[in-house]
Amino acid sequence: MLQSLKLLFDMGEYGYFVWPAYGVFLIVLFGLMIESLHSLKKAKKDLATLTINKKEQSDDWVSGS
């Protein structure tokens, strides 16, 4: 088991190049996805805040305060 794991990590002495390549691949793709989802969430929150503020303003106007 340990032997086969070692073989996998070694990648025929090229492990130092193969695994970092896959590491960068995961960082870039996960990073881009997380950033995209986070900025969408923030935009939705901003829109909700703005809509609530607008509603409050119109309510104030209706109640005359």
């Binding site: 090229y14 190049f17 193969v18 390549a21 881009l32």
Partner: protein, 243 residues
């Protein structure tokens, strides 16, 4: 179809329906591609295990070019027909394409060191890929450089269309000049020169990258539609206050 999606609300409805399907397809394709590429494909007789870098390097380079082609076409449509969705597609594609370009450059460098003996060389393929990255960054910077978003969109669209000349240069750089980078071995006249056991995982990874692009694209377009709504509301509020 062309005019149908000019309405952002219609596009949002469509995006909400297809997004989960695209997400699952991406996860399945990446799982298959990574399993086949890392554990179930043969080593190359010359390059040994480093050939596994190809499964992330080549699709990211394909996508870098695909995204730039899409960006240029969207910019042309936005400029000529003033299609609102085309402008959003272009704006949403640029950071995704730039990320793929960075990935192609870094993984290429990690493949180059053991095979060429150097991390970097200023040959035609590598240099034209760096220019592609600067075109993406230039587009993003110019798009956000103006207070008036319309002006930013117009200027950056012109840059993107002119920059398209770099795409065929990248593709044919390995044929036109003597490069350290190997010539095309998948998309070439006479068919692929790669054995099916290596080609299959590569094509699956290529598909996975494509569906991943569509997934992130939908998320980023949704965000841009909401930002446009926020801007419209703010303008309406400001005008209301003036009255």
């Amino acid at each position: 179809m062309f005019n149908y999606f000019a309405n952002p609300n219609r596009f949002l409805k469509f995006a909400n329906v297809i997004q989960p399907w695209i997400a699952w397809l991406t996860i399945i394709l990446f799982s298959m591609g990574l399993f086949l590429g890392l554990f179930n494909s043969p080593v190359d007789y010359q390059q040994g295990e480093t050939v596994r870098i190809m499964y992330v390097h080549v699709p990211s380079a394909w996508m870098a070019l695909f995204c730039y082609t899409g960006l240029s076409i969207s910019c042309a449509i936005a400029l000529i027909w003033k299609h609102p969705l085309a402008e959003l597609v272009a704006k949403a594609t640029a950071p995704i394409g730039a990320s793929f370009t960075v990935l192609a450059l870094v993984t290429g460098s990690l493949w180059g060191k053991p095979m060429w003996g150097t991390w970097w060389v200023w040959d035609a393929r590598l240099t034209s890929m760096v220019i592609l990255l600067f075109l993406y960054l230039g587009y993003i910077a110019l798009n956000n450089a103006f207070e008036n978003p319309q002006r930013g969109a117009k200027s950056s669209s012109i840059l993107a269309i002119v920059g398209f000349v770099n795409v065929p240069i990248i593709k044919f750089s390995v044929d036109w000049w003597n490069t350290l980078h190997q010539p095309a071995s998948v998309i070439k006249i006479g068919g692929p020169a790669i054995h099916p056991s290596i080609l299959e995982p590569l094509l699956i990874m290529g598909l996975a990258f494509t569906t991943y692009y569509l997934w992130v694209l939908l998320i980023r377009i949704k965000r841009l539609i909401i930002i446009n709504k926020i801007r419209a509301l703010q303008i309406r509020q400001a005008l209301g206050e003036k009255k």
